[in-house]
Symmetry: C2
DNA sequence: TACTAAAAGTCATCAGATGATTTGATGACT
DNA sequence: AGTCATCAAATCATCTGATGACTTTTAGTA
C-alpha cells in the first residue's frame, strides 16, 4: 500500500469529504453543508475547504452553485478506475496496449473495409523512416499507423482505450526512456497490412505478436536495470 | 463560439492553464511559473489561482511540491479519454472486455502461480449456480471468477481496465438487459481453469474464446432488435 | 574541498472583508 | 385567490494581507 506521505490539509480534507460521500452521508442530488459548516467539520480554514471542494468538483463528485449551495453529483469517482491504471507500471501498460494491437489486428482481418486497407497502405507509405522530419514526427506517424489498425477493427471502445494507453505511455517514455527503444521495423509493418488484408485473423494476430515481442523484451531489459 | 456561459474565474483560469499545458508551453516535468506570476498571467487573485491549480492537480496534470514549485505531470487529461470510452456502445465495450478475458487467460497460462490455481478452483467451486442466493449474487461470484483469471495474468493494468469495463458494462446491463443474457456455462468455466493450469497459452485463449463467442452473439441479437 | 548555516524562493494555510447569485418570504396589485 | 415585484437572507466567489513550512541556493567556515 502507499504510504500516507506528506499530505496537505486540502487533500486530506478532500479525502474526508470523499469518504463521507462514498459512505452515503449525503445522497446524490442532496446539498452538502455550507462552507462555514465544513470549516467546523474539517477543522481547516475556508480557503482550504474551497480547495478541497474544488478538487472533488473537478473529479465530478460535487457541483457548486453560487448562491445556492454545493450538491452531490455522484458517490464514486468515475475516473478513479483509470487513475489506477495510470499508476500501474509502464511495463504492464505497454503489454496491455500490445495486446490490444494483436487482437485489434485479428478483428481487423475479419471486418476491415476496402477503405481501411487503402488508409493502412497510405499510412505505411507515409511512415517512411526516422530520417524524415526527425524522431518525434516519425513516432507520430508510426502511432498513426498502429492506431489505424485498431480503428480497422471497427471497435470504438478499443480505439479509445488504445488512445488512453498511448497517451499514458508516451508521457512516461518521453520523460524517461527517450530514444532507448528499438526502431520499429518497416518490413514488419508491411506484413501486418498484408495479413489484415488477407482476412486471416490468426495470421494478422501473429504478425503483430511477432512484431511486439522484441520491443516488449527490450522494455523489460531497460526497466530491470 | 460557445454559449456565454457564466464560468467562475477559477474554472476559466484552470482552462487557460490546461490549454497552455496542452500546447506544450511547459514540458512534462518542467516547473510552471510560481503563484505570484500566475496571478499576473491570469489576472486573478492568489486564492483563485490556487483553486485552479488544485483542479488540475486532482486531474493529474500538475503536481505541487511545497517549497519547490508546481510541476507538469502530463500534457493531456487522461480522464477525458475515459469519458469517451464510456460513450462507446455496449457491444464494443463487451467485446473489448471479452478480448481481455481471452488474452489474460493466455498470459495466465504462462505466468500463473500455484496460488492462482488454488484461488481459481476455489472460486469455481463457490460459483455454484444461479439458484444459490439469487441472480445478483451469482453474477457477482461469476465476475469474481473471471477477474481472478485476469489477475492470474500478472498484469495489473489489465486488471484495472477489466474492472473499469466491468463497472461500465454492469451499469448498463443492470438497467436495460437484466436477465436476458444466457447463463454462463459451468462446464466451460472448469475447462478455462484446466487450460490455464496446463500452461498452454493457446489452449487457455481458445477456451475463453469458445466461451465468449455465444454470449457476444446473443448480445448482438439483443442489441439489433 | 567538504560541510554547515543562513537566506531566498515557493507552496500551504489562515483570517477578514466584499461582491454576485440564488432562494424564499413579504406584500401589493389584479 | 392568484400573480408579480421587491426585499432580505443564505451561500458561493473573489480579493487582500499575513504567517508558517518546506526546498533550494548561496555564502561562509573549517
Amino acid at each position: 500500500m502507499k504510504q500516507p506521505v506528506r499530505t496537505n490539509l486540502a487533500d486530506s480534507a478532500a479525502n474526508s469529504l470523499r469518504s463521507e460521500i462514498a459512505a452515503g452521508r449525503w445522497a446524490v442530488g442532496e446539498r452538502v453543508p455550507n462552507e462555514a459548516t465544513l470549516v467546523d467539520m474539517l477543522g481547516v480554514s475556508r480557503g482550504t475547504v474551497r480547495e478541497a471542494v474544488r478538487a472533488l468538483v473537478s473529479q465530478g463528485l460535487l457541483e457548486t452553485r453560487q448562491g445556492s449551495g454545493t450538491y452531490v453529483l455522484a458517490t464514486a469517482d468515475p475516473a478513479a478506475a483509470l487513475d489506477r491504471v495510470r499508476q500501474t507500471c509502464l511495463r504492464d501498460q505497454w503489454e496491455a496496449r500490445a495486446l490490444l494491437d494483436v487482437e485489434a489486428a485479428r478483428l481487423a482481418a475479419l471486418r476491415h473495409t476496402p477503405a481501411d486497407i487503402v488508409t493502412l497502405r497510405r499510412l505505411l507509405a507515409e511512415r517512411g523512416t526516422v530520417a524524415d522530419g526527425g524522431r518525434e514526427a516519425f513516432i507520430r506517424r508510426d502511432l498513426a499507423f498502429h492506431r489505424a489498425v485498431v480503428k480497422a477493427s471497427g471497435n470504438q471502445a478499443m480505439v479509445e482505450i488504445y488512445d488512453f494507453f498511448t497517451a499514458a505511455i508516451t508521457d512516461v517514455i518521453g520523460s524517461t526512456l527517450r530514444g532507448e527503444l528499438p526502431e520499429p521495423n518497416g518490413q514488419a509493418h508491411a506484413e501486418i497490412v498484408e495479413a489484415v488484408a488477407s482476412g486471416d485473423p490468426d495470421r494478422a494476430a501473429a504478425s503483430v505478436r511477432a512484431f511486439m515481442a522484441p520491443v516488449l523484451l527490450q522494455l523489460d531489459r531497460l526497466l530491470s536495470r
